[in-house]
């Protein structure tokens, strides 16, 4: 009897988490969908004219900005993270790795506003003085995000590499392959599903990050033509304008949230599919 009650309580708690997610999704869609229908899906997604107080709701430039910033973060962040993961698993002593891995994971615990502040104080002036432009830019956001996704990608990649059976490595070395050949032809290949999952989860984090980005991105509405141009990703748009938004403007910000929601859903689902498919192979 007692066990039954505890079982029910645990189930209630588990459902409440799903319930919260469901309520949130319903609320966002309920608030945002009417404005999408009002201006038309095509106009909303593919027009770059955003002047919500004057009746223009096009978020194309923000979608482009979000994608550029995320891709930029991956271009900078993935090689760094992979190098980190390979070094820690293959080239340093296990005991040292056990110290270094938690240290890198600690990076994930730093509040994003701190990253943003460091970006504004250190990175932005460097870019402005040495590369030109206003400093607040696509490049600055990408670099900050690259550092922020580093712990996610590194840590999951390490786990994936460690999961590769030791016999693979022994076999490869026994066949006469060098250490480096073994790493990139055997170990990375065997761990690729885990690594791809790590990258996709990192992407999700990059596209959803708000505070750090709003501080260094410059938030201009123009579609960027160079890495030194300021950008306004989807998340920044919501956080930037929610303070005074009312009526259709507020609804349009919720609609921006829907687009973001869909993006992150796509990322997570594809991460799941890729993991499953390669596990089967």
């Amino acid at each position: 009897m007692k066990e039954k009650i505890i079982e029910k309580i645990l189930m209630l708690l588990a459902f409440s988490a799903i319930g919260a997610l469901l309520l949130m999704a319903i609320f966002i869609f309920k608030e945002g969908m009417p404005i999408i229908f009002k201006v038309g899906l095509k106009n909303f997604l593919f027009s770059a004219h955003w002047a919500p107080t004057k009746g223009y709701f096009g978020i194309f430039s923000m979608i482009v900005s979000s994608l550029f910033v995320t891709i930029g973060a991956l271009i900078i962040g993935v090689p760094l993270s992979l190098a980190c993961a390979i070094t820690l698993t293959e080239f340093v002593h296990r005991r040292l790795m056990r110290i270094l891995k938690p240290t890198i994971e600690l990076l994930a615990g730093i509040p994003s506003v701190v990253y943003g502040f460091l970006g504004v104080v250190l990175l932005v002036p460097l870019i402005r003085d040495y590369l030109g432009g206003p400093g607040l830019s696509l490049l600055a956001s990408s670099i900050i995000l690259a550092i922020m996704v580093l712990p996610t990608i590194t840590s999951i990649s390490i786990d994936a590499i460690l999961a590769v059976p030791y016999t693979y490595k022994e076999g490869s070395l026994a066949l006469g392959a060098t250490h480096w050949q073994t790493i990139h032809m055997v170990i990375l290949k065997a761990a690729r599903s885990g690594i791809i999952t790590a990258i996709i989860l990192g992407m999700g984090r990059a596209i959803g990050e708000t505070m750090a980005v709003i501080m260094v991105a410059g938030n201009a509405l123009k579609i960027p033509t160079s890495p030194l141009d300021p950008v306004r990703p989807l998340t920044s748009n919501i956080a930037l304008e929610m303070g005074y938004a009312a009526g259709d403007h507020r609804a349009a910000l919720f609609a921006t949230g829907i687009v973001l929601f869909v993006f992150i859903m796509i990322f997570n689902v594809s991460a799941n599919i890729i993991t499953k498919r390669w596990q089967r192979e």
Binding site: P52, P134, K222, G243
Partner: protein
């Protein structure tokens, strides 16, 4: 499953019941609604006023000048706050100027330019003047910083400087006057606009059409980008509303407003 939803509903209704209960303080309520630029000042004053008048509750809301004026007409609010002059069709309402605010055009202290006219300013923010050299300084692109859509300061700037010309897409956008000032204080080639009250030594405020920005030029309305902060009532204010407005206009109320960075009316 039904069991689960039932307990969920009970919990939810309990939260709603207890979460939304008024705090039990009984009293008369005055509602002030309108401009988001006036809101922080009105909140501050209401807070101080309520300390002296325990039985009174002053409820300050945003929504924008136009919405505030409309809600006074519809009796949804006792006082409407506005950060722009009343339009022709709003003139039947009673207005009281509680303070003045000048919008400062700020640049980096290293900037050689000390004066602009309104047309030049409009062209900068419209993206027509792209380089400082066009204004007689170095050949560097102008980084112009604006506020986010919906901000009261932006609205006033659009009305008084831009007229019907839209602000260019290339503008950097920041969501507070503080961060606009921060950018301009660090970037030698930036220009931005903020309320007079928060200009400090790290930035230079430009003269407009040769008129320097200071307390006197704002008070005399010589400085062109000056806006009034109005309290609007449906009829001549009386009773508690009258008392509150009198408090704003008293030397104590005005002193508080000036301390917060506005220019008093006395």
């Amino acid at each position: 499953m039904i069991w689960f939803f039932r307990s969920f509903l009970i919990v939810l209704s309990l939260i709603v019941l207890f979460g939304c209960r008024p705090s039990g303080k009984e009293g008369v309520v005055i509602t002030v609604a309108g401009s988001t630029s006036v809101q922080p000042f009105a909140e501050k004053l209401a807070e101080i006023y309520m300390e002296h008048h325990r039985s009174l509750i002053i409820n300050v809301q945003g929504g924008g000048s136009t919405a505030g004026i409309r809600s006074v007409r519809g009796d949804a609010a006792d006082i409407g706050s506005s950060s722009r002059d009343l339009r022709e069709d709003e003139k039947d309402l009673r207005e009281t100027v509680i303070a003045w605010d000048g919008i400062a055009i700020i640049v980096h202290p290293k900037n050689n330019i000390h004066n602009l006219n309104l047309t030049q300013l409009r062209d900068i923010f419209a993206g027509k003047i792209k380089y400082w050299s066009e204004l007689g300084w170095v050949h560097k692109s102008i980084h112009f910083v604006t506020r986010e859509e919906g901000s009261g300061t932006r609205c006033a700037f659009e009305e008084m400087v831009m007229h019907d010309v839209p602000i260019s897409d290339e503008a950097l956008v920041q969501d507070s006057s503080g961060s606009v000032r921060e950018i301009v204080a660090h970037d030698p080639h930036a220009i931005g606009y903020i309320s007079y009250g928060i200009v400090d030594k790290r930035v230079n405020a430009l003269s407009i059409d040769g008129v320097e920005l200071n307390l006197r030029t704002i008070k005399e309305k010589k400085y062109e980008i000056t806006r009034p902060f109005l309290f609007v009532t449906k009829e001549e204010p009386h009773g508690l509303v009258r008392d509150f407005i009198d408090f704003l206009l008293s030397s104590e109320g005005q002193r508080i407003l000036e301390m917060e960075g506005l220019v008093g009316v006395r």
